[in-house]
């Protein structure tokens, strides 16, 4: 007589490995808990995570996938599809520079070159002091007053090279209200 095989327990929802800090983890769990009952909850959750953490950490993806009963690939697919979601931590401020036609008609191409040169970064880069990340954007809806850019959530119009430099100096000096 053989004794029955010991029963093996296969955890269906394994805890994904994670290098998240406990605060980040809490923010992600909180966003999921708050929003997961919404129909089509993934974008609202990703927005909430990015709003709190400034980006969507790689290790947030399996957590969100588990909460929404999606595959990791599906969530990664969504995060990487949308230009707005950052997958890496950015600078303290994010500058979105408009590249679209109406701003081009007023010198956006030259402004773009000036911005990259003066900050010594390319698009998607962050300045050495960690103050500013530069991102392209395709229209900010300020097409009669271009060239335009957005610093965090503040829209700026008629941005000359000079005004760009002045605004960047203010951002670096920590002037929150521009």
């Amino acid at each position: 007589m053989t004794s029955p095989m010991p029963r093996r327990v296969i955890p269906l929802k394994a805890e994904p490995p994670s290098s998240l800090s406990s605060a980040d983890r809490k923010a992600i769990d909180g966003a999921c808990r708050r929003l997961k009952s919404l129909p089509g909850a993934l974008l609202p959750i990703l927005h909430a995570v990015q709003e709190e953490l400034g980006f969507v950490p790689k290790d947030a993806v399996p957590l969100i996938a588990r909460e929404l009963n999606l595959s990791i690939a599906e969530v990664h697919g969504v995060v990487s599809f949308y230009h707005y979601f950052r997958q890496q931590r950015g600078g303290r401020h994010v500058v979105h520079l408009c590249r679209a036609e109406a701003c081009q008609a007023l010198g956006a191409v030259a402004l773009e070159a000036h911005a990259k040169r003066s900050l010594s970064i390319d698009y998607h880069g962050t300045t050495a002091d960690g103050a500013i990340s530069l991102e392209p954007v395709y229209c900010l809806g300020n097409c009669a007053l271009g060239p335009s850019m957005m610093i965090d959530e503040e829209l700026q119009g008629r941005v000359s090279a000079q005004r760009f430099d002045a605004l960047m100096a203010q951002v670096r000096a920590g002037v929150t209200k521009l």
């Binding site: 993934l42 599809f81 949308y82 230009h83 109406a102 007023l106 395709y138 097409c143």
Partner: protein, 525 residues
Amino acid sequence: MTAVRIFVPIDAAARSVGADETAAAIAAEAQRRKIDIELVRNGSRGLLWLEPLVEVESAGRRLAYGPVAGHEVASLFDAGFASEAGRRGVKPHPKAHGPTEEIPYLKRQQRLTFARVGITDPKSVSDYLAHGGYRGLAAALALKPADIVASVTASGLRGRGGAAFPAGIKWQTVLKAPGAQKYIVCNADEGDSGTFSDRMLMEGDPFVLIEGMTIAALATGATRGYIYLRWEYPDAKRALEAAIAAAYAADYLGENIQGSGARFDLELRMGAGAYICGEETSLLESLEGKRGQVRFKPPLPAIAGLFGMPTVINNVITFASVPIILERGGPYYQNFGSGRSRGTLPLQLAGNIQHGGLVEIAFGVTLRDVLYDYGGGSLSGRPIRAVQVGGPLGAYLPASQFDTPIDYEAFAEIKGMLGHGGIVVFDDSVDMAAQARYAMEFCAIESCGKCTPCRIGSTRGVEVIDRLVAGENAPKQETLLRDLCETLTLGSLCALGGLTAYPVLSALNYFPEDFVKSKRASASA
């Protein structure tokens, strides 16, 4: 004595050039001079070159001053702008423009959809009601769904997002479609460069959008709605959040709208920087929490849209045009316009233009009138060389086409499109080969990846234009480019791949000299 009402726009465009500083300076200066004022943060009048435009209420009308920078505010008070008697005593301020309504740019417009934008306080339901708001809903509540649809059909209103599909037919399809849950979705993913009418409306008169969507719900039996707003519009987000909350508080949204027993719940959702989500089926995918990839049609969203249910999906301006149609009747709206383009179109004058802003007029005026009579020519003072109408997928038009009337069919005839009504002006310093290249680059960046011609053809397009401009076997490259454009047009599901040929080929056909190496060298010399 009652407080003097002073208006400083809270519109994002006005704020981008210092309206907050101007408003703060006015408040501080009034306090210093002990003048009792009521500062209202209104929407923008759409005279954007005059922003920040300050208005003061006087004898039932408003007097305009602009552009007023923060440091100029004291001089306005010195000129007595805050009192009737004060204004009589001194010579007019150099920034004074007289009564706002008399400024020709505004006076010659026909503002139906934008009737209240810039007039009312966008946060206040009572102000909205005081200026004729919710009369369309009141009319709709007394009608049967089919009669609401009939009214919209009679108005001739076509989708203002770009595709210009008759709104009444779309609504009729949803009304007839069986479904346990129907949805109203507002496409507020206004991604076309040169367009800002959705943004201005949402920031300046958000209730008219909410009212229009509520009427659509009554017309089709929908009880849930979503506004899908692009993240690039944080000011519009704030305005809509406040307006939705206020509408709920006043029973204009929720389970029992104005005691009628009708239910409509409305939620704001944010996009995440994907141009393609302005395409209606991509938008629905995005709302469902997926990548914004274009769906095959059929089934139409009206039959199987959001979460597979019958869905009305329209642009902001389309919904916002509905209240006045219900209030005044379909024929009133239909009476404006030309040919099969009925009503008014809020045009947006953008780019290198002296008087950029919002011009809502009946269809039928020529592009030239808009550019010169309203726009005042280029901002740089140089000749206007090219105009792109209808966003990044619209054709570049040369001066020889400026007599084309603003009319959907007339633009289709010249292989252009009105789209969402954006007009981007370029002066003679523009390099049209660079613009064509950008069109392909933009398509490559924003392609959802579903259709191969769009996903890969756009990148090949950039390369071919580079070789053409470099003069590497130019005739062959041109043939290849035209062939590629045909493949994109015929082999793409949606307008992004399907229409990228418009800006590319119009640049090539109308401005061939910009693509020839020897001529480029002499032009830049």
